[in-house]
């Protein structure tokens, strides 16, 4: 996917103005998820779970080479083919070879953020392959040609009305069709696709090194079908998805479900090994593509590597009051919300993602929600600090900061400033800042006297009384 992260401020403002319905839909849905998460967290000793999950992830990340080799070995033993892809080009090569060799014309896809990173759909389409997203939300945004707006709920920004209109135009369903009826229509289209596709594509929530097992979580059953019906299955797995042992799933599956949707476990969990054996149903070929795409570089970053613990549960998005106003689109890259704000600069480059670390008030709700305790607020500060050090800051901000420092370093100047605030014209440099503030909130109304004057008066009074 081409990143448009640098337009975040403009896009956020535009969306708020032009599509107010998005704000309503996203706020409603995220608050619902958030309430479910809080309830689900409260049912278990969540602090212990989070601590353990964090420790296991940290362990696996600090021995990643060893676990990747182990995973590869186990996958090969099961008859899967393993590929390593540094970025989109190598990932595309794997697909190209399969499409050519097997004459693939149709592919069904299970929801995967990594394939968004890699641009799998446009690539397959360029080869003349028809691609069906099979997650209902993904299917909707595919019809609309929009990118996902949320890690877990890709169509979270759409209202029922918009979906009704879309289906009315596409499939001629009545404008007042019930959600069930709409789902029924999608199901019919997708069933046909499942039965006729030559290729199934998925991501993975986890890859267990000990057994070479791919674990996939979902609620609709479409992943199960996408990974088992077509004759060829390709799973794209980010390097950070490794878990050491099969037994670790006993923690990570329920933890992820609780964080993501407040469920104790997702409705379906698929554990996949290799291709079907003699007499079994399932794909003849299974390919596992282990994808780097910036991850090893991030792992080597002493301040930002913790973002790789991320389980892609979306809990931080649901908890984030900034994300809630716009959904994911203005962020301009695959990952939005708090985790996007700290992960995207690592995956893209800070220059390209500059505004994203500023898309937060540092309220800390994301850290509270994160099942693996990624210190998102601290990481936001780190990226901001680097942005300043790299000179990415806009001119007005630099000027304002220099002025701010000058005034605040000198009590005398500060007192002068305080007088200026109560009458004298303010320094020109600060005017754009002031305008940005007053437009939405009216003029600044300082106290008649600042406290430091009132303090003197109080002290004088006391002096007189004694």
């Amino acid at each position: 996917m081409r990143a448009k992260a640098r337009f975040y401020p403009k896009e956020a403002a535009r969306l708020l103005k032009e599509r107010p319905g998005v704000r309503e839909a996203v706020t409603g849905a995220t608050l619902h998820f958030e309430r479910n998460r809080l309830r689900a967290y409260a049912e278990v000793p969540i602090e212990e779970w989070r601590e353990r999950a964090k420790a296991i992830k940290d362990h696996v990340l600090s021995h990643l080479d060893r676990y990747l080799e182990e995973a590869e070995r186990r996958l090969l033993e099961k008859g899967a083919r393993v590929h390593w892809a540094e970025g989109p080009e190598e990932a595309h090569q794997v697909l190209l070879e399969i499409v050519r060799r097997r004459g693939v014309r149709r592919a069904v896809k299970a929801k995967s953020m990594l394939t968004e990173e890699l641009g799998v759909n446009p690539f397959l389409e360029s080869l003349g392959v028809e691609v069906f997203e099979t997650d209902l939300g993904e299917y909707l945004i595919q019809l609309l040609k929009e990118p996902p707006s949320h890690i877990v709920g890709p169509a979270i920004h759409l209202s029922l009305e918009e979906i009704r209109r879309l289906f009315h135009e596409r499939f001629g369903t009545p404008l007042e069709a019930s959600p069930e009826a709409l789902a029924g229509v999608a199901r019919k289209v997708l069933r046909e696709a499942f039965l006729t596709a030559d290729l199934g594509i998925s991501g993975a929530n986890f890859l267990v090194a000990e057994t070479g097992t791919l674990a996939l979580m979902e609620n609709e059953g479409n992943i199960r079908l996408s990974t088992s019906l077509p004759r060829v299955h390709v799973a794209f797995v980010g390097l950070e998805k490794l878990l050491p042992r099969l037994s670790d799933l006993a923690l990570f599956l329920p933890l992820t479900a609780r964080a993501a949707t407040g469920q104790r476990l997702s409705t379906y969990v698929s554990l996949l090994g290799g291709p079907a054996k003699e007499g079994e149903e399932g794909p003849e070929e299974v390919h596992v593509v282990l994808v780097d795409h910036g991850r090893t570089a991030l792992l080597a970053d002493p301040e930002a590597w913790e973002t790789l613990r991320c389980l892609r549960c979306g809990a931080c998005l649901n908890a984030c009051p900034v994300y809630r106003q716009t959904g994911g689109h203005p962020y301009g890259y695959v990952y939005s919300g708090p985790i996007g704000a700290v992960l995207d600069p690592g995956l893209l480059s800070l220059e390209e993602a500059y505004p994203l670390p500023y898309a937060s008030t540092l309220c800390g709700a994301c850290l509270e929600a994160c099942p693996v305790k990624i210190p998102i607020p601290r990481l936001l500060l780190t990226w901001r600090h680097r942005a300043v050090a790299e000179g990415l800051t806009p001119g007005w901000e630099k000027t304002a900061m220099a002025a701010f420092r000058k005034v605040m370093e000198s009590p005398a100047l500060y007192r002068l400033f305080s007088k200026a605030l109560r009458g004298l014209p303010l320094p020109q440099d600060l005017l754009p800042l002031l305008r940005a503030w007053t437009e939405g909130r009216g003029a600044l109304r300082p106290s008649p006297k600042p406290f430091h004057e009132l303090w003197r008066e109080m002290e004088e009074d006391r002096g007189r009384q004694n």
Partner: protein
């Protein structure tokens, strides 16, 4: 006991009465209060925006100004957290910053945790209060119950508020870097406001932002810093 009051720049300029209230209240409770005159801003706006060099200069100056203080008390959760949690990060290896951070308290936190005062008087009898949890007070300092206890014990009715713990959208420079999002957040927060007589919080920034937004949309509600209400609780 002796405390040095750090009024913080926003309260100094926009909620001066909160400082007066804090001084009166602390003195009434038998605490000696200093106001070190060299104080200005803790440096948080610069720190949060990534301008650490500027922030560091101000952190060093704050440390100097408050060197002698036994306790540093602030009527602002956000600045208190800056001193307590972020000065040691900003000045790594500084023993002074580390030792200093342990002496810093937000006002209500100081009253309850250090002075052990949970009951100030009954001056807020029957007043319906909406309490906005400033994010840094809540999540960085862990100040959740203290303000509620003090208000409730003074007879106030702290109204249930769906969005009480949601960020108001101020966020320092955030409010001017991303003004539209900031305002949308304030509007969402205010759209759930219960039928209160007064809106309060520990943080001047949040109150400035919310009251400005309310005025702009024609809502007429008293907005008062927590320190002011706590003094009213005491003085009746």
């Amino acid at each position: 006991m002796r405390v040095a009051l750090f009024i913080t720049c926003l309260a100094d300029q926009f909620y001066a009465e909160a400082g007066v209230a804090a001084v009166r209240l602390l003195r009434a409770l038998g605490v000696e209060v200093d106001f070190p005159e060299g104080q200005t801003c803790c440096g948080q706006p610069a720190f949060n925006a990534g301008h650490w060099e500027e922030a560091r200069a101000l952190a060093r100056r704050t440390l100097r100004v408050f060197q002698e203080a036994e306790y540093v008390v602030l009527p602002s959760g956000s600045c208190a957290s800056m001193l307590r949690n972020h000065y040691p990060e900003l000045l790594p290896g500084s023993r002074e910053a580390l030792a200093f951070s342990e002496r810093v308290y937000e006002l209500s936190q100081f009253l309850v945790r250090v002075l052990g005062v949970e009951r100030l008087g009954e001056g807020l009898k029957g007043v319906r209060v909406a309490y906005h949890h400033g994010c840094h007070a809540l999540r960085e300092l862990g100040v959740r119950e203290e303000p509620l206890t003090l208000l409730t014990n003074a007879g106030a009715e702290v109204l249930p508020w769906e969005a009480a713990e949601e960020c108001c959208g101020f966020g320092g420079l955030f409010s001017v870097k991303l003004p539209e999002v900031s305002l949308a957040m304030a509007d969402r927060k205010l759209s759930t406001l219960p039928a209160a007589q007064v809106l309060t919080s520990t943080d001047a920034g949040c109150l400035l932002h919310l009251s400005g937004r309310m005025a702009k949309s024609g809502v007429n509600l008293r907005v008062a810093p927590l320190a002011t209400l706590l003094w009213e609780a005491y003085a009746g």
